[in-house]
Amino acid sequence: MRFGFLAPVLTFAVIAAVMAYALFFLDPKEIPTELAGKPAPEFKLEAVPNHGPGLETDHLKKGKVTLLNVFASWCVACLAEHPTLMDLKKNGQVEIFGLNYKDQPAAADKWLNKHGDPYTRTGMDRNGRVGINFGVYGVPETFIMGPDGKILDKIIGPITEEDLKKKILPRLAGNNS
C-alpha cells in the first residue's frame, strides 16, 4: 500500500483524460448518419426555377461517386462552403446535386444567380420531408453518394478543408477512370 496515496491522483487523471478527449475530439453537435451504407431514400423533386432539371433518386445512381449538397438561400453557413463546391464543379471532379431545403423558389434562384450554381441538378424540398428522410437536421449537409446510389458518408456543416481531403477527394479517385 505504499502507493495508496496515488489512488486519488490516478482517479483524477483518468477523469481529466476522458474529459479532455471529449472536449477536443468529440463534437456533440455531430450525430453520425444512421444511413451510411444504405440506399438513398426515394424522392422526386422539381428543380429550382432556371437551375437545371429536377432531381430524383435515380439520378444518384450514376455509377460514379456524386455529392448531394443540402443548401438553402437562408443558410449563412452555406456561403462558407460555396467556393469549395464551385471549385469542385470547375475542376469537373464530381457531379454535385443540390437539395434546396425549405426555401422559397424565387429566393433560391436569386441566391444561385448571385453566388454561382455548382449543381448539375437541383431539387426543391419545400416542406423538408426529403431532408428528414435523409436524416438531415441542419443545413448545410453534404452526402457522399456511392456509384450504386448508396450513402457512403455525410458531412455535417460546411465542408472544411479536412473534410475535402479526407472524405471527398479520396473517394473521387475512381471517378475519372
Binding site: E34, G128, I132
Partner: protein, 161 residues
C-alpha cells in the same frame, strides 16, 4: 419598498407562462386520445437542433416538422414503437431521449450500478482495515517492567494531588 414589491409582482407575472410549460401545438389531432399519444411520443424524441430538448419542448423548425410527422404517423394508425422506429432509421438511437438497452449502451445503463457496487466494496474494505488495528492492539504485548514502573510512578504522582 413599494418599488421592490411591484418588481416582485412583475417578475411573478412574467414567470407564470414559463411555469405552465411551453407546449407547441400546430394542429391537434381531433381524437384527444391520439393527440395524447402524440405528445407522449414527442416527449421522448430528442430535438436534433436544440439538443437535450424534446421535440415537444423545442420550437426549432425541425422539431415542428418532426412533431408533424409524429402526428401523421399516429393518425395513420402506427403504434408508438412504429413511430419511433420511423425516426430511428433516419436519425439513429440518438433521437431517443431514453437510450435503448443494447450492447453499445451497456456501460451507460450498468455503469452507475458498477460504480456504486465498486464504491460499496471499497468502503467496506476500507472500514474493515481501519478497525482491524484497534482490535489487534487489545492483544498487544503487556507493558515491560520499566514501562510498568514509569506508569505506576505517574499514577502515584496523580494520586498525591
Amino acid at each position: 419598498m413599494k418599488i421592490l414589491r411591484s418588481c416582485i409582482v412583475a417578475l411573478t407575472i412574467a414567470l407564470i407562462p414559463s411555469l405552465a410549460g411551453a407546449i407547441f401545438v400546430e394542429e391537434r389531432l381531433t381524437d384527444p386520445a391520439k393527440e395524447e399519444r402524440v405528445r407522449e411520443i414527442a416527449d421522448d424524441i430528442r430535438c436534433l437542433v436544440c439538443q437535450n430538448q424534446s421535440i415537444m419542448d423545442s420550437n426549432a423548425d425541425l422539431a415542428k416538422d418532426l412533431r408533424a410527422i409524429v402526428r401523421e404517423r399516429v393518425a395513420a394508425g402506427d403504434s408508438d414503437d412504429q413511430v419511433k422506429e420511423f425516426l430511428l432509421v433516419r436519425y439513429g438511437d440518438w433521437v431517443l431521449l431514453k437510450p435503448p438497452f443494447r450492447m453499445r449502451t451497456l456501460i451507460l445503463w450498468l455503469g452507475p450500478f458498477a460504480v456504486f457496487i465498486g464504491g460499496a466494496i471499497a468502503t467496506f474494505l476500507f472500514l474493515r482495515r481501519r478497525s482491524a488495528p484497534a482490535g489487534a492492539s487489545q492483544k498487544a504485548k503487556p507493558l515491560s517492567k520499566e514501562e510498568q514502573a514509569a506508569f505506576d510512578a505517574l499514577m502515584a504522582e496523580e494520586d498525591q494531588k
